[in-house]
């Protein structure tokens, strides 16, 4: 009796009343049929060798007998004692006869186990195992007839049919799965009772079974709307043999696999959708094997189709990035750690930047099997970042400039406030000053006291004069803030400034030359501001001429394009080259302490810049000092000059 490769016996497929048949060839039928048939129809196999001192049996018999092989007395007696006491003598006679003659025997009796009796058939034959001289006894124990209870409890549909394919067995599961109760189908042909679509397949399977072959069909579509059937079946068919080995009919099993099929379909759909996402997403996705060959690339890289098997796609393979690419790829392969690298790939439309991530993909045994590379084109993002950075820089520069201008404005505001304050104080001090000066003078003149007291009063008068001069200088910085701009005639402005200074010039015998051409255009400015500029320039000229042999101030205006330039020139010694650059600095002064604040030119220049003009020093060596005021003229059609 042959044993399976793994010591498992594959029992024959008996017909309902056939004695067990020792089958010498192993059937090449699907495992599921064998396993189910074994489960349904057989308990197991046994073998006893007189010389070996032990008896072996298969798992099925172990379950039935309750003994593990090799753990009990080494005799077939233990096997015999499993049977009903009335059956034991006959079984012993049969087994010994078989051992004597070597001819196969068959015995039918009752197995007693766990208080239940089961009718079984025992097939036995004597044989000589390979390499052994002694004859051994072996056989199979089989249920007598079909195990109705097991079949009835099966969850698969089980049915049996005769040589005319007429059904002789139809278990409850078959009624449920195929939507036909046993009463409607028993005695009818298989092909008649199967639902449409599955009918032809079932009929063909039956024909093959009756020809002695087992067969199966997977995922057979079944539709029977009247019976509410709409799904898929797996079907298995196997022949049943009569006592002499002829095919007497067949057994079939049907399992409904609709849910599995649908789940599989859903899964396939999911996979397809995921693939679609992968294929048509914005990122380039590639997979590389251990030899860094590209085994997959999505359509983002190759819109025309798949390029599996090609080498690293040229798109990301350009020379400048090759070493970077391979170095990272090898590291991922070696360490399994992911890598991230920015690739700059030159192309016809300029260099593109790819943010590339590489991830190791382990195989079934943990070793890195492939590398998945995901590359995203971030060129535009990079360009936008760069543009943003530049805009930021420009903004910061503008902010710096604004801050600087604000500081300048604040300074100017401070100076203006200082000037206003100084003027206010100076003006308020003038009257008491005048009183005190004259009181002291009167006291000095009418004092009959010794010379020392008179001398002290004289000094007091001198100090008072210093205070007076200081107050005058402070007054020069009175600068109205809220005066509105208006259209002004330079004749009037310069004339007013001269009016104010004329007294001083006359007292110092300074000659004034005025050269203002008739028809000068008007200018737009705050009158007080512009007048202050000219007063400042005239005061500077006056001070510059203090010790000059020839005392002359000339004021000359010319129109130069859209600007009017007014030169104020004195006949003094000029400004030393060393300090020319500093004359417009605030608080820079050449005068004695108390004689000047150093603010005049600074403020004047600020005023002229504010008006869109300028105030500059003109170098005229040996010809005194010229300060030039330039100011935009109002176009003649917009305003008329007096």
């Amino acid at each position: 009796m042959p044993m399976g490769k793994h010591g498992k016996y594959h029992p024959p497929m008996p017909s309902a009343d056939a004695a067990p048949r020792v089958q010498r060839d192993r059937c090449a039928r699907p495992w599921r049929v064998q396993a189910t048939a074994e489960r349904l129809l057989a308990f197991g196999t046994w073998m006893w060798a007189p010389g070996s001192g032990c008896m072996e049996w298969s798992d099925g018999l172990y379950v039935l007998l309750g003994y593990r092989p090799g753990t009990v007395a080494a005799d077939y007696q233990i096997f015999v004692t499993a049977f009903h006491p009335e059956d034991r003598p006959r079984l012993l006679v049969q087994l010994e006869a078989c051992l004597d003659s070597g001819a196969p025997v068959s015995f039918s009796g009752r197995l007693s186990h766990a208080g239940q009796a089961q009718r079984v058939r025992v097939a036995a034959e004597a044989s000589r195992p390979p390499g052994k001289h002694l004859r051994c006894l072996q056989g199979a124990v089989q249920r007598a007839g079909l195990p109705e209870d097991v079949i009835a409890a099966a969850t698969d549909a089980v049915f049996a049919f005769d040589g005319d394919t007429r059904l002789s067995l139809w278990n409850p599961a078959a009624g449920r799965i195929l939507r036909r109760p046993a009463s409607q189908v028993l005695g009818r042909r298989v092909a008649e009772v199967f639902p449409s679509l599955a009918r032809n397949r079932a009929g063909r399977c039956c024909q093959r079974v009756l020809a002695g072959q087992s067969c199966y069909a997977r995922g057979v579509r079944v539709v029977d709307r009247a019976a509410g059937l709409n799904g898929y079946f797996d079907m298995d068919f196997a022949p049943l043999h009569g006592p002499s080995g002829e095919v007497t009919g067949g057994i079939g099993m049907v399992r409904e696999v609709t849910e599995q099929r649908r789940a599989q379909a859903r899964l396939r759909l999911r996979v397809r959708q995921s693939c679609s996402l992968l294929e048509h997403g914005p990122d380039i996705v590639m997979r590389f094997d251990r030899r860094l060959r590209c085994v997959y690339a999505n359509r983002t890289l190759f819109p025309s189709g798949h390029a599996a098997g090609e080498n690293t796609p040229n798109a990301l393979h350009a020379d400048p990035t090759r070493s970077l690419w391979y170095r990272n790829m090898r590291r991922v392969l070696a360490t399994g750690e992911p890598a991230s690298v920015e690739l700059f790939v030159p192309g016809p439309a300029g260099t593109r930047v790819f943010d590339t991530r590489m991830v190791a993909e382990p195989g079934p045994y943990g070793r890195v099997r492939s590398v998945l590379a995901v590359a995203r084109d971030i060129t535009e993002q990079k360009q936008a970042e760069e543009a943003l950075r530049q805009a930021n820089r420009r903004l910061e520069a503008a902010m710096d400039e604004l801050r600087a201008r604000q500081r300048q404005d604040v300074e100017e505001e401070k100076l203006t406030a200082l000037g206003t304050l100084a003027a206010g104080i100076a003006h308020e001090l003038n009257n008491p000053m005048m009183g005190v000066m004259n009181y002291v003078d009167y006291a000095r003149r009418n004092l009959g006291a010794p010379d020392t007291v008179r001398d002290v009063l004289t000094r007091a008068a001198r100090e008072l004069e210093r205070i007076r001069d200081l107050l005058k200088n402070m007054l020069a910085f009175a600068r109205p803030i809220d005066e509105p701009s208006g259209e002004l005639s330079l004749h009037n402005v310069i004339g007013a400034a001269l009016d104010l200074m004329m007294q001083e010039f006359q007292a110092r015998q300074i000659e004034v030359k005025l050269d203002l051409p008739y028809g000068l255009p008007a200018v737009r400015a705050k009158e007080g501001h512009l007048q202050q500029v000219f007063v400042n320039l005239l005061m500077n000229a006056r001070d510059a001429l203090a010790n000059a042999p020839r005392k002359e101030v000339s004021i000359r205006a010319v129109q130069e394009g859209t600007l009017i330039r007014v030169d104020v020139t004195d006949s003094g010694t000029g400004i030393p080259a060393a300090i020319r650059d500093r004359i417009f600095d605030p608080f820079f002064t050449t005068k004695r302490p108390g004689k000047g604040t150093g603010l005049g030119l600074s403020i004047s220049r600020a005023i002229m810049l504010e008006l869109g003009g300028d105030l500059v020093y003109q170098d005229r060596p040996g010809r005194g000092t010229t300060l030039s005021v330039s100011i935009p003229a109002i176009p003649s059609n917009a305003g008329e000059s007096p």
Binding site: H427, N431, M434, V436, M437, N438, Y442, D499, Q503, G528
Partner: protein, 127 residues
């Protein structure tokens, strides 16, 4: 010869300054604390010279100047002021209107007061 000098100033210290500077040297100084009083004095008896403050309560210096020109057009007037932009425009306008005046910058010393007075009353006329 008329040696009467009129000083119009709201500040007594300034009025004192003119009194102390000029009364010693043979001038008769009349004082007025505001423009109205000064105009009234000048109308009653025209002085030889008027020193006029610009900033005063009530009638200000420029207005007083116009009124003085009406009551005694031939009397020279010296505006005694610290240069303040507020009044410069009005003064310039007054000058354009034909009012004649001199400007003296506050504070004035006794010598300056006498010099101005002498030059106006006895020296060649500046104005």
């Amino acid at each position: 010869m008329n040696r009467r000098i009129l000083t119009i100033d709201d500040d007594p210290a300034v009025r004192d300054a003119f009194v102390f500077a000029l009364s010693d040297v043979g001038y008769e100084v009349e004082t007025a604390a505001d423009g109205a009083e000064g105009v009234e004095l000048a109308r009653r008896n025209a002085p030889a010279l008027i020193f006029l403050d610009l900033r005063m309560p009530g009638m200000d210096g420029v207005e007083t100047l116009r009124r003085l020109h009406e009551v005694c057009p031939r009397v020279p007037v010296y505006i005694v002021t610290a240069f303040r932009p507020d009044y410069l425009d009005e003064l310039a306008q007054a000058a354009r209107d034909g009012l004649r005046f001199g400007i003296a910058s506050k504070p004035l010393t006794s010598d300056q007061i006498r010099t101005i007075t002498h030059s106006v009353l006895e020296g060649p006329k500046v104005m």
